[in-house]
Subunit: 582 residues, 2 copies
């Protein structure tokens, strides 16, 4: 037996007990006549003590030699600690060691195994197995486990069945690129790894499995932006015989349950806003509503005066930044520089200080008077002490710039509190999205999304205006889930494929099995998928998903720890009937 | 709202209630003046009734048109059923329909959606989404969900953490072939899909995550034998600071828990036998011990007589088949033909009828007398009425032939009861296995398996004799789990790679990251992996894993439903820097 107790377990009630512990040497303090060793395992740290008076001399010598991260097993007696450490749960006791066995030595680790490590990102990724010994990473992985267990418990209790769908499927040209897997047995043919189990979950609905879920890896061969992974995990869900309302209620229930179980937070009903309203009010389809700063559109108030910049703008829109009227001229200039950065892209910014004394001071004082500014303040819900920031220009661009400013100011003001959770539903997404480059419309969600009732006819006349039975669940400014009611009528699905630019042959080659299935009594159905990596990160009060993945890949899609991908043998290529074409 | 109750819910206590149901038209019985419709969903079947007296005429007309598998929504009143059907839970009631809406019509399905369908295997696979509507398949998938939920609950309650390991990893030449995934971003390089998360779980142990599990897809590009799938699911587990005994206890606990939760069976302690003993007693390293027929070796009793076949045999071994002494000469001849089939491969079979009256009748009467046969009977534990079947020849081959006979006789005698569960541990597996073709030894389990203490020296002198800290959990004649204590010493691991024929360079190229990790304080560790597909099938009293997989592949690795794998665009190949080489 390697241990009869873990390094996180001992308390003062255990004093006098004989114990066996195993773990890693975390730290050694050698005072000559006495040596303290912090022994660490997954569960905590226990202080070991060796001293001249009470320990065998050879034992003391052996302890002196212990290097960091050596794996040892000890036997000893739990004793009271002279100077207690209130910072750790085992801080009242220490173990007087009577026997010490070195299970495995350790070379000097490339970084310290401490909460605040000296290891940079690259080094930590290369030695991820050492990084996982550190509390922040270890606790994130344990947290992820807890969240997924709770998700499964909730859904299973609600009658959902977890069904495993295949990983070796068929490539579809839609959306992001597939990872492909050459088949050895079927010469010249390829499997694809799923970008999501979308079609399989719809087939399960056709199969009568009316409440399905799966926590499942998905794959996208995209050029990686920061914090995107080529493989990621989804909580994938689908229900039959449901309307949008049923789905929103079910997964609002799941989210409330998680907030309660994980953070003991009782959430009220989640707000719901339409996509259009979200864009108008926050300039963003995933607004962070932990704070206000709602957009106020000022066209009617600010146009037709002498200020030509506003007169020629499609949109004039502002927010009231709480308490920022005290900004100095220099600070405001820096803020203007900030909105002019290429990442934000504004041409400039008009400001109005709404001073504590009720007066206004603005960069456009010569065009507007106090009564104008009072109206602007009302429109942006500004209070004395606030700074009204106004951007203008093209509608969508300006909204997006002001959204960036809103988030930046919230960040600066500490309004994005990691322990506060503000979920909301964004509904009525557009069905189609214009590809600016090609001028073609493509599915905003995916080609199986159902338009809202009575909007099919708009598909011809005004495709961009068609709204879908599609919804996102947003938490703290992040989309954590998204889904839709699906088309279950094969004729409507065929029409949709046509509008998305598929020829009937292409539609058949790619989705023939789904269209076939829809002939045999497809029930009305819809679903949702959550990005588990992001959900866990946000529930954990963080935003970097990589910190919640045991073995993440870097921005080139490489696993630097195992050094993958890698070249393969000529023989392996041959078996797959392939040649490199570099 | 599509329904306020499911098709499996209504009872006589619901009579008079107004209900809304949705589902599939399972069957229509049209008596002219009255029409009964069986409406089906995942939860059961509810009888709907339309009749001349109580229903609107147009409703009756509409009901007459209903085809099988049409999706409908109805409203109606629960009423008592005139002739009750005790075979279904809703059999006391029916629903008098007041409104009928057709949600989706259905073409005639290619096979009937009945427990005993008229659909052949190929058709059922092509239309798997219809097959899943049938109770046997649907119930298997629900059963699988329940088993996996229980597995997760048990392991999580025991402190195990489920950690997701990557799917895009690095190819290793060891064992079965990897499926490869060309990297677009890393030209000419490939990922591999994991055959198991073996090295990652060992790295998690190095990382201090001392109780890990994962229910995870694994991939092997092998030529498929019957009932093998290119992608399959493992319950993958690993523990640190454990000895073999700790692992056996933990996973015996899991198995007992499953038998209790799923079948309400209280299991005693699982028997443990060594690999050598299993081979000697059952000719098989995964014996079915739901029945006896243990092997009795007869060399000392049967050799040195006049019977030259036995005298020249390496091994003479028999079993007593219960109650088969009554076999006619013709039946025995057929049995001898059976053992001589190429799949079994015996040259012949000697039999001894141990008659009810205590006399013996044998095919070798002229070489042996009653006292000889009495000794054979004692050795094979035969009782009056049994048939002793004796095979002879080369040791291993003969054992394997007799094992096949033992299983066949158990099958014929109905001794392999699907509702009886007989688990056992087989321990002390050989470390190495001789490849008869190449004459080289390779790892029987995998190259990380630890030899038993003190057996390292045998590696040079008698590699085949080295026993490993490796174990299998066997249930009803199937290996459901297997594992080992791992090597955690980098020098021993290097020695092992050498003995397995890796050059130091090859070992470094393939397992360098693991050997590196072992420098930094690897704890003693070991683990086990269960084949979930098989475990679920056996717990479900069946042996065909395909029936417990939602969307299985056929023996050529094809998904005939979605028609994958498939050819891909030239463009996609180009992006992957590949050319076909057919």
């Amino acid at each position: 037996m390697y241990r009869n107790v873990t390094c996180g377990a001992l308390r003062s009630t255990d004093i006098q007990k004989e114990v066996i512990l195993s773990g890693w040497v975390h730290k050694v303090r050698d005072k000559g006549f006495v040596i303290w060793v912090d022994l660490r395992d997954r569960y905590g740290i226990t202080q070991l003590v060796f001293d001249e008076e009470r320990s065998d001399k050879s034992l003391l010598e052996k302890a002196k030699e212990l290097g960091r991260e050596t794996v040892v097993q000890i036997e000893g007696t739990v004793i009271e600690r002279a100077s207690k450490n209130p910072n750790i749960p085992t801080g009242d006791v220490e173990v007087l060691v009577s026997s010490l066995q070195i299970l495995n030595p350790s070379a000097l680790p490339p970084f310290t195994i401490e909460d605040d490590t000296d290891g940079g990102d690259d080094l930590r990724m290369k030695y991820r197995y050492l990084d996982i010994r550190r509390n922040p990473v270890k606790n994130n992985l344990i947290f992820r486990h807890k969240v997924t267990m709770e998700v499964r418990k909730y859904l299973s209790d609600q009658g959902f069945i977890e069904v495993e769908t295949p990983y070796l499927i068929k490539s579809t040209p839609e959306g992001a690129r597939d990872f492909l897997v050459p088949s050895r047995m079927n010469e010249g043919q390829f499997y694809a790894l799923p970008q999501s189990p979308q079609t399989f979950k719809q087939l399960l609905m056709v199969g009568g499995m009316d409440k399905y879920f799966q926590i499942v890896k998905c794959f996208r061969d995209e050029d990686l932006r920061a914090d995107r992974q080529p493989e990621f995990t989804q909580i994938d869900c689908e229900m039959a015989f449901v309307e949008q309302e049923d789905i929103l209620n079910t997964f609002e229930g799941l989210t409330k349950y998680l907030l309660k179980q994980i953070h003991n937070i009782d959430s009220g009903d989640f707000p719901r806003i339409t996509y259009d309203e979200a864009m108008r009010t926050y300039g963003n389809d995933k607004p962070d509503i932990r704070f206000g700063m709602k957009f106020g559109e000022l066209n009617d108030l600010a146009q037709h005066k002498e200020f030509s910049v506003f007169n020629s703008a499609e949109l004039i829109v502002g927010i009231a930044v709480p308490g920022a009227a005290s900004y100095t001229r220099k600070e405001i200039d820096k803020l203007i520089d900030w909105v002019k950065r290429p990442q934000v892209g504004a041409k400039g910014m008009v400001y109005v200080k709404y001073n504590e004394d009720g007066t206004f001071k603005s960069s456009v004082d010569k065009f507007y008077d106090t009564s104008d500014f009072a109206q602007w303040a009302e429109r942006t819900q500004a209070k004395p002490g606030d700074l009204i920031c106004v951007l203008s220009g093209n509608g969508n661009e300006t909204r997006s710039q002001l959204s960036a400013l809103r988030m930046e100011m919230a960040e600066r003001l500490g309004l994005r509190k990691p322990d506060e959770f503000a979920p909301l539903w964004v509904v009525d997404f557009p069905l189609l999205e214009l590809d600016e480059e090609t001028g073609n419309y493509h599915a905003m969600h995916h080609p199986f999304t159902s338009p809202k009732p009575g909007q099919m006819e708009l598909l011809e006349s005004d495709p961009g205006a068609v709204r879908a039975n599609a919804y996102d669940l947003v938490l703290n400014g992040n989309e954590i889930g998204g889904g839709s009611i699906r088309i279950h009528d094969k004729d409507i699905q065929a029409t949709m494929f046509k509008h998305l630019g598929f020829t009937p042959e292409e539609a058949r080659a790619q989705f023939g099995f789904l269209m076939d299935a829809f002939q045999y009594g497809a029930p009305p159905h819809g679903g949702i998928a959550f990005g588990l990596d992001r959900l866990v990160a946000i529930l954990g009060g963080q935003e970097t998903i990589r910190d919640f993945i045991a073995f993440p890949k870097n921005n080139s899609g490489r696993d630097v720890m195992i050094d993958a991908p890698a070249t393969i043998d000529e023989e392996q290529l041959k078996e797959l009937h392939l040649k490199l074409d570099l």
